[in-house]
Symmetry: C2
Subunit: 549 residues, 2 copies
């Protein structure tokens, strides 16, 4: 392989630069920024051209590109996680002795199968079916039944009969057979009819949410309600599509419940200011907060959506991560909405028929944790068909979600049933993962709460804890000096001292409390070595409080 670099002849460069600038001036003087040393990265040949193109004006600069891209923030993969990646690389290169820790714990993102620190084992049934759909020739191998139970082969054949090949584009909504199974899953869950034609398979829930927001947002005055704290996908997408976030608070002192009265008022206030509030995003079970909304809370929300005319975006990707099923079961928005039809009140009847709802689900969470497969779905309820046609067109521009993502959705909604060869192992694996998640969540919450200034309840659902931390005055001063929010400062210190990577509350829009100064952070409950994780964090926090008191 040959490789060329560029000469550094200054005289050539200068003349070239001037000719470059003159020609560029001629066509456009709008671009402020000139080629700076920042642009002369150490990357590839560019590094050798620093002076040479010193006055060439790049077309794309942070001054010229889409300003809404600049505005979008995504804290789950921001400064802290980038620093964590650097540490991980350092350790991988065997330079861990330069660090006060021997491993990085990526507790910043719900990525259960991430190696080596989380390493949740994939579900055997899922992977066997996936492998057979990738290489169907396996099913002709003698003795294959010893490796692949017959139901995994039957499922693979059922899927391949419809999709033909995982290498072929499917229908833009997703393969018909998978959407049919999704509809059956929803009908069994809710007891109401579900139409496969109103179900769209997506690239994770993120893909679906972004697609729907793109349709809903008509201009800069369009408003979408988002919870505070919220999963930053929503704020990022609203910034990107240049819409107005209309924020509503979850109450940290009442299981992060939402106050529908207050939400109603904030809609009126926003509309009075000219914001065209169109939709309301609700994450249930909550991310980062882990609450499960009560049936009544959801009912009130649905009524509000009706009277205030807002579309409900129900992010229900954690519906299988429920830790207090008796007191805090999961209620789907669709079921609560359609239950209004059982009431004899005229308005309730109308509510069931009228409120526009989009419900999102994903294969990335639950007990499967198949994030890398990128699969999910959304279901449309009470959406006008002419609008649905536009959603379909938009989906078709991206052709289709990955077929292995679609197959993951099939596994999610149609697991092995009792009596089938894979059932026992599947039951054992899923119950084991669920029990582990619950015990970790409970244990971490209990131990964290014992630390000075840390308040946290066991999660009702999802994969996270969102502790409230009251830090000493010194920490606030030190943060200010460093030009950081106190929660950012705290989380960066945590990473530097322990290798634990978490996300500051402000990354979810939950700012440090003005009166009390208390702040928040989100950690996943996925760390395999839970005790060691708790100890690492506890030691850090205690020392931190001591140092800055």
């Amino acid at each position: 392989m040959s490789s060329a670099t560029l000469p550094r002849d200054r005289s050539l460069s200068r003349s070239s630069a001037s000719s470059a600038s003159s020609s560029s001036m001629a066509v456009d003087s709008a671009y402020g920024s000139s080629y700076t040393t920042q642009a002369s990265s150490s990357r590839g040949f560019a590094s050798s051209s620093k002076n040479a193109t010193a006055t060439y004006k790049r077309v794309l600069t942070t001054k010229s590109i889409n300003p809404h891209v600049l505005e979008a923030e995504y804290a789950v993969r921001g400064e802290i996680s980038n620093r964590a990646n650097k540490y991980a690389a350092q350790i991988a290169e065997g330079k861990s002795d330069e660090l006060p820790f021997s491993s990085v714990v990526t507790a910043n993102i719900g990525n259960p199968q991430q190696q080596p620190y989380l390493a949740q084992k994939p579900l055997t049934f899922w992977r066997q079916v996936a492998a057979l759909t990738e290489y169907p020739e396996l099913m002709q191998q003698p003795g294959i039944d010893k490796i692949f139970p017959t139901d995994t082969q039957e499922r693979a054949k059922l899927l391949l009969d419809d999709i033909g090949s995982v290498g072929a584009y499917s229908h833009s909504k997703g393969a018909a057979v998978v959407r049919k199974h999704v509809a059956e899953f929803i009908e069994q869950r809710d007891g109401y009819k579900s139409d496969p034609e109103l179900i769209y398979l997506t690239t994770g829930a993120s893909g679906g949410v972004q697609l729907l927001l793109q349709v809903i947002i008509a201009g800069p005055d369009s408003g979408v309600m988002i919870p505070i704290p919220q999963y930053p996908l929503y704020s990022a997408a609203l910034a990107l599509y240049n819409a107005q976030p209309v924020k509503y608070d979850l109450n940290p002192f009442d299981d992060w419940s939402l106050d529908v009265e207050a939400m109603s008022r904030s809609i009126d206030e926003a509309r009075a200011k000219g914001v065209d509030v169109r939709a309301c995003a609700v994450i249930n079970p909550g991310n980062p907060t882990g609450q499960c909304l009560s049936y009544e809370n959801i009912q009130d929300l649905v009524r509000m959506a009706y009277t205030k005319r807002v579309v409900l975006l129900a992010d229900e990707v954690y519906q299988a991560n429920i830790y207090q099923p008796d007191t805090r079961p999961f209620h789907s928005f669709k079921k609560v909405l359609l239950d209004f039809s059982k009431s004899s009140a005229a308005e309730d009847q109308a509510i069931a028929r009228s409120v526009e709802l989009v419900s999102f689900h994903s294969i990335s969470k639950g007990v499967s944790g198949e994030c890398g497969r990128r699969g999910g779905y959304f279901e449309l309820t009470n959406i006008e068909p002419s609008v649905e046609a536009e959603i379909y067109k938009l989906a078709s521009i991206s052709l289709c979600p990955s077929l292995q993502g679609q197959i993951g959705v099939d596994m999610l909604v149609k697991p092995p049933s009792q009596g089938e060869p894979s059932y026992e192992l599947y039951k054992q694996e899923t119950e084991g993962i669920h029990a582990t998640l619950k015990s970790r969540s409970d244990k971490m919450a209990q131990k964290f709460a014992e630390l000075p200034g840390v308040e946290v309840e066991p999660a009702q659902g999802a994969l996270y804890l969102f502790p409230r931390v009251t830090l000493p005055k010194g920490a606030h001063e030190a943060a200010k000096e460093k030009g950081k929010k106190v929660d950012e400062f705290y989380c960066l210190e945590m990473l530097d001292k322990t290798g634990i990577c978490v996300v500051p509350g402000s990354g979810f829009g939950k700012m440090p409390e003005e009166e009390t100064g208390a702040c928040f952070f989100r950690t996943t409950v996925l760390a395999k070595e839970t005790d060691e994780f708790i100890e690492r964090y506890g030691k850090f926090h205690t020392e931190f409080v001591e140092q800055y008191k």
Copy 2:
């Protein structure tokens, strides 16, 4: 499984409706459209609520949603392909006797592995590695070497060492090991250094193009040059992001070459009109046109990009589909750009260091045709690092491309090499597919050209033919009566008569010629039963010309 439907009590419904409308009026009277019968689809429970909510005003209507979604068009999956889907469903239900054909030929989209009519066989090496990464336990099975050659197991292990699990999110740019292999592939292809940090794995090329356009487009006055005819992803994305398409023509009478002088003038004209022309999309080899640009043509384009200051977006997804390698080889834009550094002229040196280039590639085309896997990549050349950081942030909001898509990219850029166990079969399979594609393309072009009024050259590259068809006056009148463009009318008739689904030229922005009335359509060259395909089409065309002469 229980299932509920809604009551139809009119009296309840009316009162509910009025209360609904009054409450909705109270908050907002801006939404024009009221709930029409159109909304009372035959879907699920909605069908029972037609009259009940006759005056409830939906939030989302085609009047209220994002107008740019309405404007976006994507002909590859539009009216014709939807009708084709209906016919295919009809045939699947065994109702083919109602139709004048027994199968639908989806020649509208490059989807080689689609069953049953195209059914290109997947590459064994790809699928074996994919299966092993899905279910690594296979590698512990006794006698596994008989099924999976050792190099497939080694590749699977190499990938898993880096990604851990296909169920885990990777780095937002894609797995490091795959990006390293992509960089090696590019260095071998071009003879210039490639930096894995400037390579982004994507969800097909479509995902990458949409991401880059989102960054480049700063507002309604931003302009991006697109070829006519063009792959409709570009026009759709520009409509969606509300930017100005600046069109340039490819010359059907000169191998669809592009006229750089004319392009230069159109930039000046657009800028004079206040359009901020920022980028130029070039598809090489061409889609739908199949041309391979000459080295000199690309050189001229690069010079133009420098003097006019436009970013080059090089869509090179068909770079492995080359049918006249001696006379029309593939030249990558990156190689042609960096070759300027070999010149002693000062301006040429500056060009190599200055012109901003994004090069796209995909696993969906070539001889792999792994569309459903959704994988691709783009490489950034001469992009300012601060802009690259924004591209990274935007990519991170969608977390990462599907891992099986990323693994597909690894297979694409790092095939088995001579001496490895899988090499011979891989060579045989890929050469076989390539030869088939070329012979089909040549044969179809030759036979089509024998038909009255049909002009078409054998494709130089890609997977399509784009014949120029001169139709009799009667056809133009019949089309006008039906309110269709003549090429749409012709293609709809083709589908209704033969089951062959193609895309009218106007779907690529190539309108019927005003002077001559000649029009175009795009067909893939993927039909397995090529002779039967040619005969079906030939019979239709001859009868059509006869009928409308």
